[in-house]
Amino acid sequence: MFQNLQDKLDRAFKVLKGQGNITEINVAETMKEIRKALLDADVNYKTAKAFTDEVKQKALGQNVLTSISPGQLLTKIMNDELTTLMGGSATELDLSKNPTVILIAGLNGAGKTTFSGKLAKYLKEKKGRKPLLVAGDVYRPAAIDQLQVLGQQVDVPVYADRESTDPIGIAKAGVAEAKQKGYNLVIVDTAGRLAIDEALMNEISAVKEATQPHEILFVVDAMTGQDAVNTAKAFNDRLDFTGAVLTKLDGDTRGGAALSIKSVVNKPIKFIGTGEKMDALDVFHPDRMASRILGM
């Protein structure tokens, strides 16, 4: 599709005169191509606009009569700019507290429960923690069973209370259980919810109050389109989350939502999900994501 963004940019440039320096005049067509490419990659409309303006400013006056083509030059500028925007380097979790409490939140079906299992495995095996998973979804049919199956797969115990329909009480009891039994890490899975569902958003705020988490991770599907900004903003307004997780990147989506989320809430993306299995977890690398969004 637009693996050939660079070619397109070269072509856009060729039809224009005065290739010596990048000028206002010869840059317009090119910016259109860039904007379309970003929108095709699901970067938010406003973010794409702001970004192309930024790139334009950086590009203006640059001399293109060097060994590289204008397309190459522009994609390099964009790649650098995107990488910086998305946080420069990978951001780690703060695991200094005992127990460290991590709250997982997000829209329906984003991949929260799967990620909870993966994170437990990762922190246990790679960071030497002793995790407890907490089954805080009392709504979705078989949500507890799902987390328990995953807990078994990664060999991490799950705190659940099948009698209770109160996610706040369950989360609190889960943290208490961890303290009592000497787990130094608690991961609280929660039900999927829409950002405009007042009752459920109040509920997750209350879960936060009750458990005082050290990390709150907003889990979002990498295939999300223009709505990513609304959702990220609404969850951030309510929870002031500490990081985002981008799931299902084993697909072929460009993942422009990553850029939108970062630019609207300015929180780091900490992990990516790359499959359904429990080891399909990676730390987030802004530079790789930048190349992906640009299709390079």
Binding site: T114, D145, A195, T224, D227, N230
Partner: protein, 281 residues
Amino acid sequence: VGKSTVDDEVLDDLEEVLVTSDVGVTTTLKIIERIQARVARDKYVSTSELHSILREEIQALLAENNSADFEHFEYGEHKPYVIMVVGVNGVGKTTTIGKLAHQLKEAGNSVVLGAADTFRAAAVDQIKLWGERVGVRVVAQAMGSDPASVAYDTVKSAVANGDDVAIIDTAGRLHNKVALMNELTKIKQVMQKVVPGAPHEILLVLDASTGQNAIEQCKQFTQATDVNALALTKLDGTAKGGVVIGISDQFKIPVKYIGVGEKIGDLQLFNKKEFVDSLFK
């Protein structure tokens, strides 16, 4: 005061509305071109008229390539009418099946569900709970068993039991995974050994919050299974689901159902007019 041409500012606004609804640049440009053509033809057009023209053009675009809106939760002539439900991970397949089973049962049909997602953790438990909730039978095997065999059992059981409708759940899978897509083709073919022509409906479930990737999903799932109906879920949120406009333009597959919540009653038949109106809310 009317204008004979549409000024750039108005078009920019339209573009923003469409693109932020996930309509996609290509389809947005196509719609805008249609409007420009119409404005050139009809001459005087005010900004307010322009908005109703826009709605009409999008509805027309949806209608050109689709049948009329469905009026009932109907299942056609076949008995059992077999529905196979496919889609990427987490879009709402299993929930849609629960909700659809409820609608069909309310309409007086006897329905059986097939738990052919034997892969995702507790998927069988989840659909069994939906079966209990709705009050319909669920045909299932152990986790990890062959999904094609579950589908086969389900259709066979529907025939034996004289059921009107059989709905087969499948595991979520990303469309770029060749082995998993081939598995779907196999699940589909196995059912034809019991009921020639089955599955009669292959329902691709799309999540309204998905962006342009939904187009590729549609392409790949259609290639593997001849998708002939779409369901658009999670429209109760702020996402508009505009990508289905481009999809129905390219693939000529009707959107049949929409999901508007997690509860049993939260499934509706797609209505073009209401859908287009919601883009501008």
